[in-house]
């Protein structure tokens, strides 16, 4: 093992190399490009023995991953934003074929208007495709999560593809010290690819992707649902082994100072790091606040979240996304998870960080202040809140600044 000072993109590429992937199929899109560039260099230098498919689109890149995976090869891709949207159709297809493909998503907004900066709209818009989704907070977590993802999705209990999502620029172009393990150590955690699913095999000819009529289609969906939920068990085992081998501990839901907290903020991704600092500051002032970071978004850890939040009186959800016409997406998931609890917390949604707007300590401080007000009032005045909206722009555009969403 060696500590290296590397970016999120480099960490993703190192993980794919350490996973000894057989096929890398990708198409360039900012801010994902350097992942594939690093892998191309590794292949060019003989550091990784893999086939590169430099596809003519993301739709084809994902299709090439499907083709490779269909003959039993370990396939890897990375994309973002428009590229992920273009893959959309093939995502359902890959999940339906039960192919354990890993795609790193470097989260970026979607046009129009154009933005190359981070929010989670691209990957969260794919939440119903049957892919596992992990959201990470640091460059180390990117590397580790790719290895964990392969291990879990190649498990015969799961056999579904997975995203490992990091915020564009915030993590992709941030350099941090990362512990890069050696190949031998990784092979103890992630064995060589040995497909546990039917492949296009001359010795055992099969026909794939035929039609399911109404008497069976629903059961195919059910099967995927069960396998997706099986991932929790496979993930727990993987986390335990990972900790034993590498000394780093992961959970589907990570918590910070929530044990006695009246007010808990839930979020995903890199904002969790900033929020931890704010929690510490507020704790030092005597406020009983805590933080929940949802790492595994698909499958959604409903049971774990119910337990963790069973004593919270107010829960805020910071969403770096918005389902237009409704609320933030993490908020929807979390609120529905808690609905049947006998003692539900009050819940408030905060939309921030869209299109790459930085999520500052000040923004998070304002969110906690709003949650504290709610606790004191005992009811939620405003469900959906924009703690960092640019009021000057809204006013120039003639939009209401205190609109009740």
């Amino acid at each position: 093992m060696a500590i290296e000072f590397i970016s999120g993109c480099k960490a993703a590429a190192e993980a794919a190399r350490l996973a000894n992937v057989d096929v890398v199929a990708a198409y360039p899109i900012t801010p994902q490009t350097s992942i594939v560039e690093y892998l191309a260099k590794d292949v060019s230098n003989g550091r990784l023995k893999a086939e590169m498919v430099l596809a003519e689109s993301e739709h084809s890149a994902m299709s090439a991953c499907v083709g490779a995976s269909m003959v039993g090869a370990r396939a890897f891709t990375a994309t973002a934003s428009q590229g992920l949207a273009l893959m959309h159709e093939v995502l359902f297809y890959a999940a339906g074929l039960r192919l354990p493909i890993v795609s790193v998503i470097v989260n970026r907004s979607l046009a129009s208007p154009v933005s190359i900066f981070a929010d989670f709209k691209d990957s969260l818009a794919q939440r119903d495709t049957g892919w596992l989704q992990f959201y990470v907070e640091s460059c180390q977590e990117i590397l580790d999560s790719v290895l964990i993802a392969y291990r879990v999705i190649e498990d015969s209990r799961v056999l579904l593809p997975a995203f490992v999502c990091m915020e564009g620029f915030v993590l992709s172009h941030l350099s941090e010290p990362v512990d890069v393990p050696d190949v031998q150590t990784v092979s103890k955690f992630l064995p060589a690819c040995d497909p546990k699913y039917p492949t296009l095999d001359l010795k055992d000819p099969k026909i794939f992707n035929v039609m399911a009529f109404p008497d069976t289609y629903e059961e195919f969906e059910r099967d995927k649902q069960i396998s997706m939920l099986n991932a929790f068990e496979a993930l727990q085992e993987a986390y335990q082994d990972f900790e034993k081998i590498f000394g780093r501990k992961y959970q589907d839901v990570e918590t910070y100072r929530v044990e006695d907290a009246d007010i808990v903020l839930a979020t995903m991704g890199a904002a969790a790091g900033t929020a931890m600092m704010v929690v510490d500051q507020l704790r030092s002032l005597g406020e009983r606040v805590g933080l929940v970071k949802v790492r595994t978004f698909r499958p959604f850890p409903r049971r774990q979240l119910r337990e963790i939040l069973s004593h919270a009186r107010v829960v805020g959800v910071l969403d770096r996304d918005l389902s237009i016409g409704s609320t933030g997406i993490l908020f929807q998931e979390l609120q529905s998870s808690l609905y049947n609890q006998p003692q539900r917390p009050l819940m408030q949604n905060f939309i921030a960080g869209l299109g790459g707007r930085d999520i500052h300590q000040g923004t998070i401080g304002a969110i906690f202040q709003s949650l504290k007000d709610t606790l004191q009032k005992g009811f939620v005045e405003k469900n959906l809140n924009w703690p960092d909206e640019n009021r000057e722009v809204l006013s120039i555009w003639g939009l209401p600044v205190d609109h009740d969403d």
Binding site: K49, S63, G67, M70, V90, L200, P205, V210
Partner: protein, 306 residues
């Protein structure tokens, strides 16, 4: 290059189980059967959405590994299989074949096919051209010929069928040849031995190869199911769908013997989709089709001379 098959030396073994559910006289089913007769038990086939995934793949006809791709990604699924097999050291044992209709090839699948051949993946791609979206009921595609009465270009009081301002179909073989691929050719189900020998030639090449097979469609073209071969022959004889091969993107071999230049009216009058063209007021359209065919033939001849 090994010797060509004759009717006596063709493989006996079929790779197609009985019981497929295509229309009687379906040209595409014949094409699929004859492809795998040559590519054999080592075939892995990728088949785009269209008639053949429904009446061939779903019917359990292929005895070799087979996957129904999406509509537009046959080329890129082939790319991934080729890359995956290479990475695993299994490439040599497999005859990799793509099968798609004209919609899946010249329209929606064009980009992924172009990318796959540009990247020099090794596979044989066969387009069975029935000149429209026949699986969905006979709508117009980018391969539908001028003057056709289709479900989306119906003959009416104001319009006389497909693309009256469009003078020429997309020539997919020349487009593929322009990628500089080692082998691209036309073929017809009316000449099975010629077709199968082209499959044989293509599959032996280490690189992307392309066959464009005219597959007459009794259901949507409007002829009796026992006439598929006759219609296929007329298409070749009238030079509507001439037989030729293009090697390395430049050397063109034109089958002048079979494409003898029978007047196009013989082909048109045999199919209901062109019946409106037989009216006296549409004579100029028939003349226009004949002149397009003559012009295309002269163009092919000019390429063949170089």
């Amino acid at each position: 290059m090994t010797t060509n098959y004759t009717i006596k030396t063709l493989p006996d073994l079929e790779q197609v189980a009985p019981g497929r559910s295509g229309c009687d006289g379906c040209g595409a089913v014949m094409a699929a059967r004859w492809i795998s007769k040559i590519t054999g038990q080592s075939t892995i086939m990728v088949n785009a959405t269209g008639c053949m995934c429904v009446n061939y793949g779903y019917a359990g006809a292929p005895l070799h590994p087979y996957i129904h791709s999406l509509f537009e990604n046959t080329g890129s699924i082939l790319s991934g299989i080729d890359a995956g097999l290479r990475a695993l050291g299994k490439r040599r044992e497999v005859n990799l074949v793509g099968l798609a209709g004209d919609g899946g090839t010249v329209d929606i699948g064009f980009q992924s096919l172009s990318g796959a051949v540009e990247r020099q993946h090794r596979f044989l791609y066969v387009c069975y051209d029935n000149e429209g979206y026949m699986n969905t009921g006979g709508q117009r595609s980018g391969a539908t010929p001028y003057g056709s009465n289709t479900a989306t270009t119906p003959v009416g009081s104001e319009q006389q069928g497909e693309g009256l301002s469009l003078l020429r179909r997309k020539n997919m073989v020349l487009v593929m040849a322009a990628h500089g691929i080692p082998y691209a050719a036309t073929a017809s189900i009316a000449y099975p031995l010629d077709f199968m020998n082209k499959v044989k030639k293509a599959i032996e090449i280490d690189g992307p190869t392309y066959l464009h097979v005219l597959a007459p469609c009794p259901t949507s073209w409007g002829f009796a199911s026992e006439e598929s071969v006759k219609i296929g022959k007329l298409a070749v004889e009238t030079r509507f769908a001439p037989l030729y091969e293009v090697e390395q993107g430049k050397k063109i071999v034109l089958d002048r013997r079979r494409s003898k230049g029978t007047p196009i009216i013989e082909y048109l009058k045999a199919q209901k989709r062109f019946s409106h063209l037989l009216k006296p007021e549409n004579q100029h359209r028939v003349d226009e089709i004949q002149s397009q065919i003559d012009e295309s033939w002269r163009y092919l001849e000019s390429l063949a001379q170089e």
